[in-house]
Amino acid sequence: MSAPAEFNADLPTLVIESGRSEAHYWRDVWRYRELLGFLAWRDVKVRYKQTVLGVIWALVQPIVTTGIFTLIFGKVARMEEQVAVPFSLFVLSGVLPWQLFSAALSNSSASLVGNAHLISKIYFPRLVIPLSTLAVALVDFAVVLVLYLILSVWFGIYPNWHWLLLPAMMLLALLVALGAGLWLTALTVKFRDFRYIVPFLLQVGLFLSPIGFRPEFAPNRAALLALNPMTGVIDGFRWCLLPAEVPLDATRLLISLVMGLGLLLGGLWYFRRTERGFADVI
């Protein structure tokens, strides 16, 4: 047992009042970082409890998506003629960021309702919950990245210094996903049917993102495509992973960054505004 701590009359007084915005919110989030770590670790641990199955699950979806897109966009739509690298590798380099984004978005959107039992029993800054779900998306991503690396070397494309910027691109994908995820998870607490919207959004997004093609190949729609925040992210990933194939398009990256930041700031605002009522309606 620890030594008896002396009661300190100078301890700060916490004041709870209706509508009082938490002055130390961000300090509290920082104070609960270990909880964030534990929740993330719990999710990863449960998902990879049976290691082999966990890895297989993480790989099945991207492999199948890559296979189908290679067939449809490569063979049927003849996109492969316009790409110098093996088309399946090209597709996988787009599936990789998409997978990260879609896992992060769907996990974070479902997170509050999925942890309702915690929210109604314990206080902590609720932001910890959607944040902690990003871990599983990252671990799944790492598994697929290893597969990509093996394939890439197999096809004779070796990583160069562009790879060093991969973390920045990952952050950008997470920024967009978390921004949208915060909106969706807070809205799902109030409106339970939002949970049906997420898979729909992701399905539409899968086809409106340049995964099986390059935005330049759809010149008439390029401007429209750039409005999808994932366009810049996928482009950025390709620049890192396939340096000879794709030039860096700063405009698209900037659009993604601005949209990501906008989503995140808006999402944080809405999340904070509704957070105090979560326990009453969840």
Partner: protein, 406 residues
């Protein structure tokens, strides 16, 4: 706030809206409602009812006090704890809290059935507000306290309920915040272990001047453990006095309720019916019971029993409802109906409260005081006055005897 005040509550109220027609759980409903409003066909306007769970509470708690909150179901006890724990905010009023608060509103909050005992200690500790270093430092002590050394690396879904509860309590008992807020959780677990927990909390109070805020149906625990009692009735504080006095007043006021119970147990289960017939049973006569649950979402039931408490809230008996492999799976919307019979009700005459313990893969729910049962004395042997219930001891045994004078 005075120097030794750790909690001050000033004019705190909490309102819930029991919406009929104004609160919407789905966007679809909200949109339809707006649409109807636009078309001028909104009949259900203003059907909203307010429910004041807490009404204008005022009190101060000083350092080192052990405060017991008592009151019937729905009196606002749990809401008060939730407001003090910052889980939900008050509608009006002001609360000042000085010191680190830990709240324990449920046994094993955040326990994950797939994770091992070891992993759950860390997870649960973090959820309750302990740092990793603190948990590591107290780990051996927690394990020894819970008496689960041999099963540390077994997933907790394979634990018996007793082990599960002991592990959960052990983590909680090693919290050392300045203020500890504890709900109903002591209703589970065996008596010896409860004593062990209370003993440990007591020593923390004495050695560190910890303040404890304690809600319980277990009046005996409140009486022995608490220095001060608060009685809540319909959201209002009606009595603030030494614990012993408040318990006596509560016992005097609180007649045993009877009848069917119907309520939401958790976000995965509704209780649709619970009845013991006849509500006033005669000693050693049969009693039948009916329980109907409906799953709101898929639920896997691990443990399942009724517990019967006498008017002093000592546990008198349990009715174990586990079946087969120890688990039942209910798909969303499915109903589980249990009917049973107690051939002879061998309980000392008096009033009994019946509660339900329901552990699923995601919840450990303890729902005391759902319904009640009155047991009346049977006929006394010819011509004698019956023995008063307080002289009858705790168990009714069946016996026969012969006598012969020689």
């Amino acid at each position: 706030m005075a120097a030794d005040t750790v909690i001050s509550v000033e004019g705190v109220s909490k309102r819930y809206q029991l919406g009929t027609g104004t609160r919407h759980d789905t966007l679809r409903d909200t949109l339809m409602h707006r649409l109807r409003g636009l078309l001028g066909r909104n009949r259900a306007a203003g059907g909203e009812r307010d429910f004041w769970a807490l009404r204008d509470l005022n009190f101060e708690i000083k350092r080192g006090e052990v405060v017991g909150v008592i009151g019937r179901n729905g009196a606002g006890k749990s809401t008060l704890l939730k407001v003090l724990s910052r889980i939900t905010e008050p509608t009006s009023g002001r609360i000042g809290i000085r010191g680190r608060v830990a709240s324990l509103l449920e046994v094993g909050t955040g326990f994950h059935p797939e994770l091992s005992g070891r992993e759950n200690i860390f997870l649960n500790g973090a959820i309750l507000g302990m740092s990793r270093a603190e948990i590591t430092r107290k780990f051996d002590e927690i394990v020894a306290f819970a008496e689960v050394e041999r099963f540390l690396d077994t997933p907790v879904k394979h634990y018996s309920s007793g082990m599960y509860v002991r592990l959960a309590f052990a983590v909680a008992a090693h919290l050392e915040p300045e203020i500890l807020i504890v709900d109903e959780v002591l209703a589970v677990g065996d008596a010896a272990f409860q004593q062990k927990c209370l003993g440990r909390m007591q020593s923390v109070v004495e050695s560190r001047g910890q303040t404890i805020f304690f809600v319980s149906h277990n009046l005996k625990a409140v009486e022995h453990f608490c220095t001060r009692g608060l009685l809540l009735e319909a959201g209002q504080l009606t009595m603030d006095a030494p614990a012993r006095t408040v318990v006596a007043e509560y016992l005097r006021k609180n007649a045993v309720r009877t009848g069917k119970a119907r309520r939401q147990l958790s976000d995965e289960m509704d209780l649709e019916e619970l009845s013991f017939e006849p509500a006033t049973a005669t000693l050693r006569e049969p009693v039948t019971f009916t329980l109907t649950l409906r799953a709101r979402q898929e639920a896997l039931i691990h443990d399942f029993h009724f517990f019967i408490h006498n008017s002093f809230d000592d546990r008198s008996a349990v009715i174990d409802l586990r079946r087969g492999e120890g688990s039942r799976t209910l798909a969303a919307g499915r109903q589980l109906r249990i009917t049973g019979r107690i051939p002879r009700i061998n309980l000392v005459e008096g009033g009994y409260r019946i509660g339900l313990c329901l552990r699923t893969s995601r919840h450990f729910g303890v729902y005391p005081d759902l319904t009640s049962l009155q047991v009346a004395a049977g006929p006394a042997p010819d011509g004698f006055l019956p023995i008063p219930p307080e002289y009858q001891g705790t168990a009714l045994i069946d016996y026969t005897f012969d006598d012969r004078v020689s």
